[in-house]
Amino acid sequence: MKLIFAGILAGLMATTAAKADEMVFTSWGGTTQEAQTKSWAEPFTASSGIKVLQDGPTDYGKLKAMVDAKNVTWDVVDVEMDFAIKAAKDGLLEPIDFAAVPKADLDPRFSNENAVGSFYYSFVLAWNKGSVTGEPASWADMFDTKKFPGKRTFYKWSAPGVIEIALLADGVPADKLYPLDLDRAFKKLDTIKSDIVWWGGGAESQQLIASGEAAFGQLWNGRVFALEKDGADVGVSWNQNLTAADVLVVPKGAKNKDGAMKFLAAATSPTGQAKFAEASGYAPINTKAKAEMPADVVKGLPDAHVDGQINLDMNYWAEHRDEIATRWYAWQAK
């Protein structure tokens, strides 16, 4: 018991001290967070004197728990955009102080009053050239098991992307995607269900394609970029590429809100965005960043493929998250 009380005391002392010259940044771990540390946190500390502590991985449950308990230990968090919209509605986020964060050059698709873009990416069609004869050219080809036999891989979770792909493959025009016709999407997905291998994380999708375990699939463009860079024999189609984004948010009650806003300004600056994009293969959300990037990297960005590009509707997804998830997992478990 003594130990417990000593612990409670020690804990109290540890958590009540929030320093103005320190803030906590949380992201998904691995190379993404490493690139964020190098491109954003380190230069930011050098120029502002505010130390950035790295925490993670991001966990939405943990975020909600700390806001509920009014004991918030994170100052800036990297989250998916549809989650950010829902979290803002649930009152979990601070509004962004656009007096401190310059807004003019931020891509309006990926920022709103409670979030600024972190990076964005496209879902593209990628394939292992050793396992596929011919060149799949559209999402419809991914549903054509006669023309293109073999396993195909899709994102496992209930998230923007797969439903839209199924509808596009079924002939729904891009501008008529929303509101999503779930019945039609699942019916289309039923036709290839036994040929689907699901990927749950970016690394898994790369492993599946690189090993030929799946002949082709829906991948994040940054992942295809990394595969190509490492010499894997992959093909890619940007036709109807679907954009989505990660955003940076400040949890409600963050201890160092001022520091957080300053950090956001640095992270979304042209230089910060250019450096991160170069290191990660994801796309910058600051429209001025491209000017600071090497030409061959710019060529690989989703911006080079706006023709036929479709923006996944994050507001629609935030609105219907629960409903779609229920249907999604019910369909998967069948």
């Binding site: 958590t15 966990d59 690394a203």
Partner: protein
């Protein structure tokens, strides 16, 4: 006859062959991971196109891996000590005590094993935030000890049930105090149970990722959390290298223990 190794006959051959198969099954992924850690392919392709030491270089150039491993070892050791001590006391009570509701209490002590870990993780994290224990080592160890306790109680209680209490009583009759009898007679007899309990509860912490994600703070990152982040985003062979090092360390420890034991015996 069935428990005499030298008198089993053909049955011994069959059982040993089966045991060897199972041993191979247990070793297969471990050997595979060690091989991958030297492979040059980033994509865990096997057989790898070439051999390299670069994943080990990457591992050693990043001190956070070693820090994480040390943090894990520290928390797991404290967890194992606490869980085995508390579990030992509880097991004696559960096996020897004569009171009503014993089975219910035993069930209660095992519930942390039943509940999906994420539910416990959220619950205990929210609770700790209010107590000010969030992100502290003490909180971390308490949460892991809760998870580890059933893994300590089950093997110890089982061993204790199989132990003939009249031997302990005989020692008392011969003049030992009840405590002496327990320490000198009973504990050595149930050592496999205690050993299993120690290993299981150490591992319940060492290999635990869900609660660890919630208990993590910038200064408190355990190895599974780091591996979890890396596997999701990179699947890098650095993880194979880290695992291989741990395997080597375990092997070294086992060999040293074996040598020491032999020395003590001669």
């Amino acid at each position: 006859m069935l428990l005499d190794y030298d008198r089993l006959g053909w049955l011994k051959v069959a059982l040993l062959a089966f045991t060897a198969l199972v041993a191979a099954f247990l070793l297969l992924p471990v050997v595979f991971i060690v091989l991958l850690s030297f492979g040059s392919s980033r994509w865990l392709a096997f057989p790898p196109p070439g051999w390299t030491l670069k994943w080990y270089q990457e591992l050693f150039s990043d001190p956070s891996w070693i820090e994480a491993a040390l943090t894990s070892a520290r928390i797991a050791t404290m967890t194992a000590i606490l869980a085995v001590t508390i579990g030992l006391l509880a097991s004696f009570a559960l096996v020897r005590g004569q009171f009503r509701g014993r089975e219910i209490l035993r069930g209660l002590l095992l519930t942390p094993m039943v509940l999906p870990v994420v539910v416990f993780a959220i619950a205990v994290y929210a609770f700790f935030l209010r107590l000010g224990l969030g992100g502290t080592t003490v909180g971390f160890v308490i949460a892991h000890t809760v998870l580890a306790l059933p893994f300590a109680i089950i093997p110890i209680a089982t061993a204790l049930e199989g132990f003939d209490k009249s031997i302990e009583d005989a020692a008392i009759v011969c003049g030992a105090s009840p405590l002496q009898a327990k320490l000198r007679i009973t504990l050595p007899s149930i050592r496999i149970g205690i050993f299993s309990a120690a290993i299981f509860s150490f591992l319940a912490s060492w290999d635990e990722v869900v609660v660890a994600i919630f208990m993590a703070s910038p200064t408190l990152q355990t190895l599974p959390v780091k591996i979890w982040g890396s596997l999701r985003s990179d699947l890098t062979p650095v993880i194979a290298a880290a695992s291989s090092l741990l395997v080597a360390l375990t092997l070294a420890l086992m060999i040293v223990t074996a040598l020491l034991r032999r020395k003590l015996q001669t």
